[in-house]
Amino acid sequence: MAHKRLKFLGVAAAVLMLAMACGGSNGGGGNTKQYKIGLVTDIGGLNDKSFNHLAFVGLEKAKADFGIKDDVIESHNGSEYVPNLTNFASKSYDLVIGVGFLMQEAVGTVSTQFPNIHFAIIDGAGTDAKGNDLKHTNVQSLYFKEQDAGAMVGVMAGWLEKNGKSKKPQHVIGAVGGVSIPPVNHYIAGYKWAAKMEDPGIQVQVGYSNDFTDPAKCKTVAKAQIDQKSDIEFQVAGGCGLGVLQQAGQSGVYSIGVDADQKDADPSVIASALKKVDVATYTAIQNVVKGQFSSGALTFSIANDGAGYALDNLTLPAELKAELDKVQKQIHDGTLTPPADIPA
C-alpha cells in the first residue's frame, strides 16, 4: 500500500482539501434494501495502524461492493463499548461489529439484549463476566489463529539464524508485545515455537511495552533486546510496535511487522505476519448481505487464507522459500499445529 497520497503544497492546503474531500455524503444504494452496518472500534481508534484500521478497510471494501450504509464509532475509553454497540443495535442495524478482544463482555451484554440484531466481534466472542462464551445465535465470533501467522515469520527468523543469514546471527531473536493478552501472545507463541523448530538452539526474548500507542516505549524495549544480541525483532504492539521496526532499522538488524503488511514502515521489515481482519470483516458483512449469517466461531487461519505472511524488503533464498512453503502446507493440512500459548 502506498502512502504517498499527499503531495500538497502546504499543510493548511492539505487540511482543507482533504477535509472537503471527506465531507461528502454517504453513497446511496440501489432500489434493493440498503444494509446498515455499524462498526465500533476499541480505544485504539481507526488510526491505530492495526486491527481497527484493517476492520475499516474491510468495511470500506464491503461498502464499495455491496452499497451498504456504513457507520463508525471510535471508542475513546472502555466504558463506551456498551453504549456504542447499543447505539447501533437500538437503531436496528443489520450487523454491528465490535473490534477487539477488549469488547468481548460488551458484545455479550448487548447481544443478550438485542437477540434479533446480528453482531460480529473481531478477536473474541460475546462473553459473560466470567469470560465464558455465551454462544448466542446472533453473534459471530471472528477468531484468528495468530499463531499460524506467527509461526510463518518464526520459521523465517529461525531459518535465518540457523543458517547465519541474518544480520548478526547469534541465535538470538526477539518479540515485543503490547500488553500480555491472548491475541498478542498467540502471535508470539507461534513465532517462538516455529523459530525453535527451525533452530533448536535459538533464544527468543519476549518483552512487553505495556502500551499500544507510543512508539518510543516499544523502541526502548526493542533496543534492549537488540543490545542483548537479538537481530530479528518481531513487533506485536500495534502503533507502539512501529518503534520496534524503526529501532531494528537503526541498529542494522531485521524486523517483522504485524497484522498488516508493514513493509512501508521501515526498510528493515523483512516480512509481516498477517492477520486479515479486513477479510474477516468483509466476510462477516458479505454473509449478512447474502442472508448467510451464521452464529458461532469463524476462525481465520492459514487453512482458509485468513492468516499468513507477507514478504517484504528482503529477497529470500530459495531454500528458505521452500521451507516456508513446506511449513505453510503442513499447517494448512493440519500436520503441524502451532500452539496458542507461548512455549517455555
Partner: protein
C-alpha cells in the same frame, strides 16, 4: 425571589456564555475542515440529551447513557473541587478512583456470599477508604515535608494504573490465565438499577436491560449535597476554605493547616474512591481492562472548574460533560465527524471560562451592561475558586 433569580442569572451567565462561545468556535472548526456544523451539533444534542434525533435513536436510551456517564463525573468532580477550596490541586482523582475500584472489587469478590445489606456498604466504604489512602499520601507528604501535591498525585495515578494491570493480569484478582479481568463481585454488592435489568420487559420500545441508570445516581447526588453541606455549613468546611484563601490567616487564627490539608485530601480521596466503587457496583460488577483507558478523574478537573467549585455547578457541569461524551459517539455515527471534536469543545469551554472571554465581550459591548465590578487588584479569573462566584452563606 427576584434577588435569587438575579443571582442565579448572574451566576449562570458566565458558564453558559462560555459554553455557547465554545460551540460557536467549534462550529467554525468543523466548517473550516469541511464538515457540517448543524449535523454535528444535532448529533451531539441527540446523543447527549435525546433531543432532535434524526436517525432513529431512542431518546430515553440516550438520556440513560448520559446519566451513566454523569454519575462518576459528579463524585470525582467533588473530589477535585474540595481540595481546590483548600488551595490544593488534586490531579490524582483518577488514581483515587481506580483505588476505589480495586478495593471494591477485591472486597466484593472475597466476600461474595454476604447479603446485600452487609456487603454493599462494605464495598462502598472499602472503595472510599482506598481512595482516601490514595489521596491521603499526597496530603500527608504536602503537610509534613511540603512535597508538591501535583507531582505526588500524578505519580500515584501511574502507580494505580499499573497496580490495576498487575491485579487483573497475572495478579491476585485475575479471573483466569489469559484473561484481563477479575471475578465478578457478589450479587450482594450490586447497586440496584433504576429500571429492572430484565430484557424480557420492554420499556420505551427497548428491552429494559439497556437502560443502565443505577441507584448510584442517588449516591452521587448525595455526595454533591454532602460536599455543599461540608463546605458551607460546617466548621471543617469553613477551615478548609480559610486555609485555601489564606494559610497564614488560618494559622494565626488557630486552624491547624497541616491537619486541614490532610483531612481535606482524605475526604476528597474518599469521594473519588466512592465514584470508583459505584462504577463497579453499579455498572460493571467486575474489574476489567476497559479501565486501562479510563479518564474520568481527569475529566473531573474540567467538571470542577466549569462548575465553579459549587455543588450545583458541578452537577450541571457533569451533565454537560457526560452529555458531550455520550453525544460524541452519536455525532460520529450520524454525521461522520470524529468524536474527538468533543474534546476540542471541552477545551474551548475551559479557555473561555478561565479567560472570562464573556466578561471581556460584555465590556466591549456597552449595551450589555457592565459586569460586576472587580477591585483592581483582583484578576478576572480569581473568583473562580473563591466565594465571589458562589452564592454566599444562605441565611
Amino acid at each position: 425571589m427576584p434577588p435569587i433569580a438575579r443571582r442565579l442569572a448572574g451566576g449562570l451567565a458566565m458558564p453558559l456564555g462560555s459554553v455557547v462561545l465554545a460551540f460557536v468556535i467549534g462550529a467554525v472548526i468543523v466548517a473550516v475542515t469541511g464538515g457540517n456544523p448543524l449535523d454535528a451539533y444535532s448529533g451531539l444534542l441527540c446523543g447527549g440529551l435525546g433531543i432532535a434525533c434524526s436517525q432513529g435513536e431512542n431518546p430515553a436510551l440516550q438520556v440513560s447513557t448520559t446519566i451513566v456517564y454523569v454519575i462518576p463525573l459528579i463524585t470525582t468532580g467533588v473530589a477535585v473541587a474540595l481540595p481546590f477550596r483548600a488551595g490544593l490541586f488534586n490531579i490524582g482523582a483518577e488514581g483515587q478512583l481506580l483505588a476505589g475500584m480495586m478495593a471494591c472489587t477485591a472486597i466484593g469478590v472475597k466476600f461474595s456470599d454476604l447479603p446485600s445489606p452487609i456487603l454493599l456498604p462494605m464495598v462502598l466504604l472499602g472503595g472510599m477508604a482506598a481512595g482516601a489512602v490514595w489521596a491521603g499520601v499526597p496530603g500527608i507528604l504536602k503537610a509534613t515535608v511540603g512535597a508538591h501535591e501535583v507531582v505526588t498525585t500524578i505519580m500515584l495515578n501511574y502507580v494505580a494504573q499499573w497496580l490495576l494491570r498487575y491485579l487483573i493480569i497475572g495478579g491476585p484478582l485475575q479471573l483466569a490465565p489469559g484473561t484481563s479481568k477479575s471475578l465478578t463481585i457478589g450479587p450482594g454488592a450490586w447497586l440496584a438499577r433504576v429500571l429492572p435489568n430484565d430484557n424480557s420487559l420492554v420499556i420505551f420500545g427497548l428491552p429494559a436491560g439497556v437502560f443502565r441508570v443505577h441507584t448510584g445516581l442517588l449516591l452521587a447526588l448525595v455526595a454533591a449535597a454532602a460536599f455543599a453541606f461540608l463546605l458551607w455549613r460546617t466548621s471543617l468546611g469553613y477551615e478548609i476554605r480559610a486555609v485555601g484563601q489564606s494559610q497564614r490567616a488560618a494559622r494565626y487564627a488557630g486552624v491547624s493547616v497541616a491537619r486541614t490539608i490532610i483531612v481535606t485530601m482524605l475526604i476528597a480521596g474518599a469521594f473519588a474512591g466512592l465514584a470508583g466503587a459505584i462504577q463497579i457496583a453499579g455498572v460493571d460488577h467486575n474489574l476489567t481492562d476497559i479501565y486501562f483507558s479510563d479518564t474520568t478523574g481527569f475529566d473531573a478537573i474540567a467538571v470542577a472548574l466549569l462548575g465553579l467549585g459549587s455543588a450545583v455547578g458541578i452537577v450541571l457541569a457533569a451533565i454537560l460533560f457526560g452529555a458531550l461524551h455520550a453525544g460524541g459517539s452519536v455525532m460520529q455515527a450520524d454525521a461522520g465527524i470524529s468524536g474527538s471534536l468533543v474534546f476540542v469543545l471541552q477545551a474551548l469551554i475551559l479557555f473561555s471560562i478561565a479567560a472570562n472571554f464573556i466578561g471581556q465581550i460584555r465590556r466591549l459591548i456597552p449595551g450589555l451592561g457592565r459586569p460586576a465590578a472587580l477591585p483592581p487588584e483582583m484578576p478576572p479569573a480569581a473568583p473562580m475558586m473563591t466565594e465571589a462566584a458562589v452564592p454566599p452563606v444562605e441565611p
